[in-house]
């Protein structure tokens, strides 16, 4: 029971592995492009938990700084992806990723 009651690196790694798997599941199985985007955000959060956890347990700052940059890039990615999704909706009148199969109108 020692490994369950004392919180260590492995606990965070397990949480991030579960979040990564769920995000990947959303990317693979959902048809709506916005839910796919939510899956991408879950994957990025899982990676961030790993970075900060390794940074804490190795005692230097690389992981914390890198996770800050990851958050900034996630914001940029969400803005661009939503602009693209809105354009797709204007063109095809749907955001169903499996029915978008042509490069022009």
């Amino acid at each position: 029971m020692e490994s369950f009651s004392t919180i260590g690196l492995n606990h965070y790694l397990v949480i991030s592995a579960i979040l990564f798997g769920l995000g990947l599941f959303a990317i693979v199985t959902r048809k709506n492009a916005i839910v796919v985007l939510m899956g991408v955000e879950l994957v990025l959060n899982a990676a961030n938990i790993n970075l900060v956890a390794f940074s804490k347990y190795s005692g230097d700052m690389e992981g914390v700084m890198f996770s800050l940059f990851v958050i900034v890039l996630a914001a940029a990615e969400a803005a661009i992806a939503l602009a693209i999704i809105i354009n797709i909706y204007k063109t095809f009148n749907t955001v169903d990723v499996s029915s978008i199969d042509s490069m022009k109108e």
Binding site: H11, V14, A17, K56, I71, A83
Partner: protein, 174 residues
């Protein structure tokens, strides 16, 4: 704070994070998914506080909850005719998805827990890291910091350009 209380609070936030993330993924209603994602982001922010990265936790709340989640809700409202259709999302290739979910998660957990031999050092990060983040940003990471700020500016201008209301083009055509 005693060790038992610490452990219990950690497991509480871990459960909130994992279960709300599962609800995001398995819910058929997009609005429910978006609001469940709120709890996931807050749970991850709480985990950052446990990892003594409180600045990252605050940034997570400000950027993800205040920015990205609002953007996602805007996206839901722009791309669905709210009054006419139900906000449902269909699923495709469910069997490969479930296989991938269990294979990736199980494989990662197995590797993390048994195969990998992580080092543990004595000098872990303690207390708050806000001051050290300030020093690092203005010394070793000043070039990436400036580059990422320019990148974010470009990305936001590009997003506004892509999503703009293009009435002028139609007026030119006639």
């Amino acid at each position: 704070m005693t060790n038992t209380t610490y452990t219990v609070i950690f497991y509480l936030f871990a459960a909130i994070t994992v279960f709300s993330a599962a609800f995001v993924v398995f819910s058929r209603n997009i609005i429910y998914s978006a609001f469940s994602l709120l709890f996931t982001f807050f749970g991850v922010a709480a985990l950052y506080v446990f990892l003594s990265a409180d600045f990252i936790a605050v940034t997570q709340v400000v950027v993800y909850v205040g920015g990205i989640l609002v953007l996602l809700l805007f996206g839901v409202m722009f791309t669905n005719k709210i009054m006419m259709t139900e906000l449902k999302t269909e699923v495709l290739n469910i069997i490969p998805g479930v296989l991938l979910l269990f294979a990736i998660t199980g494989g990662l957990i197995y590797t993390f827990l048994t195969r990998a031999d992580w080092f543990t050092t004595a000098n872990q990060l303690q207390e708050s890291v806000v001051e050290r983040i300030g020093f690092e940003t203005m010394s070793r990471y000043v070039l990436p910091f400036e580059m990422v700020s320019i990148l974010l500016l470009l990305a936001l201008i590009g997003a506004a350009f892509l999503a703009r209301f293009d009435k002028p083009r139609k007026m030119n055509q006639k």
